[in-house]
């Protein structure tokens, strides 16, 4: 690793941006006010993300850059409004009351990609990509515990006591080195009139009402902990840990009856064995893929169809996310973290073109083809009308233990829909929660590409939105974009790391509420 080279690149970039920003007539590529800082910032983050530069050095360079720019602007008139700032001002003005909304900006992806879209968007579900070839050997995990057990449940435990009624949804049972627990989702409780009037205090998560026992008559102490940082999703840890060989558990809450959980894995819906294929991505390629996926998710969440009331925000957000991509690629190549013949920069360029991001400055010519999941999400972004109906609330039981990728082991333990958002719950081993942010918000603590394809052929990108760090496992909530409709019968999971890619097909067992 050539840290000296990385630092030199960053300092020279800061120098060039200082020159551009302070020029009497800044060149067009200098971007609007602040674009220079964004470039230095994101390139510093990128070099830090691939391990070429420590964060302290990046902060030092940024501190010097900020001071250098700030001092030179002390007595300058406000910077002239650049083309981009003028555009933003115009859009803001258009948002003023009494003004008509701006005409929609029809998307215009490159022709080659349009043709590829047509296959995905207009031709119905695309053909399955089928096998990825012979599965590559999965690296042995010396810590892998043969007792790891994940069982989908998909049952509802109703409860009622003292004017409080509700349901606890059992998504799955997980037994790993970290212990045994039920992954559950609390339904919205119904309160008696006294509760509503505040005459009685309501316990929204009445954990004390529940008891759990096994087929041998052993009862367990229950320890509820929030999962994914949300109390609506909980883990019910069982103490002591159930012995091997128990066949079922019964969960009881007043007034009953008991709900029996069959722990025989064969009792769950059948799912395919994960398929593994080898990969050899450089650290730079992995980072660029994460950036592309972040870009796609932000685009999908800010598409004109999603936010018709805020048309000015989408282009602004997208333009900002494109800033510095060319510099990031150049820096990664210069520190040998990105092979010069890598196809990823061209794909990222094509993605930017498709999203009408014009300030990316990627030197590579846009690729003619994009990965299928990217195209699927682009199609979703470019849809003309918002989804007419929000996906219905509910949860789906599903479990799968994925083979290790880059030292990370993931187990899928269920998903749920609420308020139009789908969250997939995973248990992760081999990760560290350090809240490291990469360029443009990429979550470096979760260095995997993660997608779901539904049985309709649409791809859903996933990124962490909640962590519950516990040692040695993390409970992570992955938000899916777009959300997954309850009509989905099965999904194909695609998880990609630097060393390989895993695909697994999983049936979904949707549960309450109806």
């Amino acid at each position: 690793m050539n840290g000296e080279r990385a630092e030199t690149i960053l300092r020279l970039l800061a120098e060039a941006e200082l020159r551009n920003q302070l020029a009497p007539d800044p060149p067009p590529w200098a971007g609007g006010p602040g674009a220079g800082r964004v470039k230095v910032y994101v390139v510093g983050q990128a070099l830090s993300a691939v391990g070429a530069l420590d964060r302290e050095t990046v902060e030092d360079v940024l501190a010097d850059f900020d001071l250098a720019v700030g001092l030179r602007r002390l007595h300058r008139a406000r910077p002239a409004i650049t083309r981009r700032a003028a555009s933003a001002a115009r859009l803001t003005a258009q948002l003023s009351p009494g003004r008509p909304a701006p005409p929609p900006n029809p998307p215009g992806p490159p022709p080659a990609i349009q043709a590829q879209w047509a296959t995905v968007a207009g031709g119905g579900p695309p053909e399955s990509t089928g096998s990825l070839g012979p599965a590559a050997p999965v690296p042995a995990d010396p810590e892998q515990d043969a007792a790891d057990r994940f069982v989908p449940i998909g049952l509802t435990v109703p409860f009622h006591q003292g004017g409080l009624s509700g349901e606890l949804y059992l998504m799955s049972f997980a037994h790993t080195r970290a212990g045994a627990r039920l992954i559950v989702l609390w339904g919205k409780p119904t309160l008696s009139r006294d509760h509503e009037l505040g005459l009685q205090q309501a316990e929204l998560f009445p954990v004390d009402l529940f008891t759990v026992a096994d087929n041998r008559g052993s009862a367990y102490e229950l320890d509820f902990t929030p999962a994914n940082g949300s109390e609506w999703i909980s883990q019910i840890n069982l103490r002591p840990v159930p012995p091997d060989g128990i066949r079922w558990l019964e969960v009881v809450a007043p007034p009953g009856p008991a709900v029996r959980i069959n722990l025989d894995p064969a009792s769950g819906p059948p799912g395919g064995e994960p398929e593994v294929s080898a990969a050899n991505l450089s650290a730079g390629e992995q980072l660029l893929i994460m950036l592309a996926e972040e870009l796609l998710m932000v685009a999908a969440q800010n598409s004109p169809a999603m936010r018709p009331e805020l048309p000015a925000l989408s282009p602004r957000v997208m333009q900002t996310m494109g800033t510095g991509l060319g510099d990031i690629i150049a820096a990664l190549e210069a520190v040998d973290m990105l092979p010069p013949l890598s196809p990823v920069p061209a794909q990222l360029a094509a993605l930017c073109e498709s999203l009408r991001i014009d300030g990316h400055e990627i030197a590579a010519a846009p690729a003619d083809e994009l990965p299928e999941p990217w195209l699927s999400l682009l199609t979703y972004y470019q849809r003309r009308k918002p989804d007419t109906a929000q996906v219905r609330d509910g949860f789906a039981a599903m479990t799968a233990a994925l083979p290790e990728l880059d030292g990370i082991r993931l187990a899928l333990v269920g998903l749920h829909n609420t308020q139009g958002t789908t969250v997939l719950h995973v248990l992760a081993r081999g990760l560290r929660r350090e809240e490291r942010l990469g360029p443009h918000g990429a979550d470096l603590d979760f260095p995997l590409s993660f997608w779901l394809r539904d049985n309709g052929g649409r791809w859903h990108a996933a990124r962490p939105i909640g962590w519950q760090p516990t040692d040695p496992e993390h409970s992570i909530g992955l938000m899916l974009v777009p959300p997954l409709p309850r009509s989905t019968a099965w999904v194909e999971v695609l998880a990609g790391g630097r060393s390989g890619e895993v695909r697994a097909r999983l049936p979904l067992r949707w549960g309450a509420p109806p």
Binding site: E7, T8, L10, L22, L67
Partner: protein
């Protein structure tokens, strides 16, 4: 300080003075022969002792301390001017405003400060709130913020001295950096490469009309002045220079970089107002010795508000080839 047969790094620089508001009046601060001198504070050491005991600290003394703190600070190279066209105009009012802002900007407003404060412009005297106990988790961020504020205040004060002082401080930092041991020197190479590039690029633009972004610098170590070559065409054109860190001190800080359409790469005999330099007529050629002579308006003497600006920088002419 390098004291080679060719001369010390600052021998091509004349003395330089400015007035600054200090206490109730305005005092002269002078840079001469590589040192900052406080003409109105003949016993600054004693004043520092008094300040430590709770007395007022004179601004002149504060500035001298800031100079000392940053005499080897590579950030000076990243922040300071790139050339006469990049004059950073900071006034003492700006300094006072910044100090006030940092005082009332949060925790720092309540932090106990060593020493008293002088009255007058930028006075920080007056009743201070009692310092509440700071929770441990906020102590590190508070210290970081205090450090950042102090660093910014230092920089503002040093820049407020004017362009003449700014380039001399850059020269001093570069000279100190060129004396670092080899192993430690490798750690600061990126900063030095960026610093030389930042100051050579505008000179090269004036010299050859080349885009500043096409100037590529590496750090030269060892005997000789370094090297220069022009390669490629069009957008691929590159002017490659290898220069030592000392070039910033000996050549650039002295205002010698572009003299008589020659790009000066080294000083053979330092002196003021006459010196002998090695200079390039064109990239790829061997440098030629030039006798050069400097003219300058001289030390600032136009009144209490005069500071040595870029226009007061020495102007060198080729005396004899």
């Amino acid at each position: 300080v390098t004291d080679s047969p060719k001369g010390v790094w600052f021998h091509c620089l004349p003395r330089c003075e400015t007035y600054l508001p200090c206490g109730a009046g305005r005092h002269i601060v002078r840079w001469e022969a590589g040192e900052l001198r406080l003409l109105s504070h003949p016993d600054a050491e004693a004043e520092l002792v008094l300040a430590a005991l709770g007395g007022e600290k004179a601004r002149c003394v504060e500035v001298a301390q800031a100079w000392e703190r940053h005499a080897e600070d590579l950030s000076v190279l990243a922040i300071g001017p790139r050339g006469p066209a990049d004059e950073i105009a900071v006034s003492w009012d700006d300094v006072d405003a910044e100090v006030r802002a940092s005082q009332f900007g949060g925790w720092t407003a309540y932090a106990p400060q060593a020493g008293g404060r002088h009255p007058g412009p930028g006075s920080r005297r007056g009743p201070r709130p009692l310092a509440p106990p700071v929770p441990a988790r906020y102590q590190q961020p508070m210290q970081d913020r205090e450090q950042a504020a102090r660093r910014r205040n230092d920089m503002l004060s040093l820049l407020a001295l004017g362009y003449g002082f700014q380039v001399r401080l850059i020269g001093q930092v570069a000279e100190a950096a060129s004396g670092w041991p080899r192993e430690a020197g490798e750690k600061i190479r990126p900063s030095l490469v960026a610093a030389i590039t930042a100051r050579l690029a505008p000179v090269a633009e004036e010299w050859l009309g080349i885009d500043p972004g096409q100037v590529v610098v590496t750090l030269h170590r060892g005997p000789g002045w370094g090297s220069a070559e022009l390669i490629g065409r069009g957008e691929q054109r590159r002017l490659r220079f290898s220069l030592p860190a000392g070039w910033l001190a000996l050549v650039w800080a002295a205002g010698l970089a572009l003299t008589g359409r020659h790009l000066v790469v080294a000083v053979e005999r330092a002196g003021w107002p006459d010196a002998r330099v090695l200079a390039l007529r064109a990239p790829g050629t061997e440098p030629v010795p030039l006798e050069v002579h400097a003219t300058a308006p001289g030390p600032a003497s136009g009144g209490l508000d005069v500071r040595p600006g870029a226009a007061d920088a020495p102007h060198w002419e080729v005396w004899e080839v």
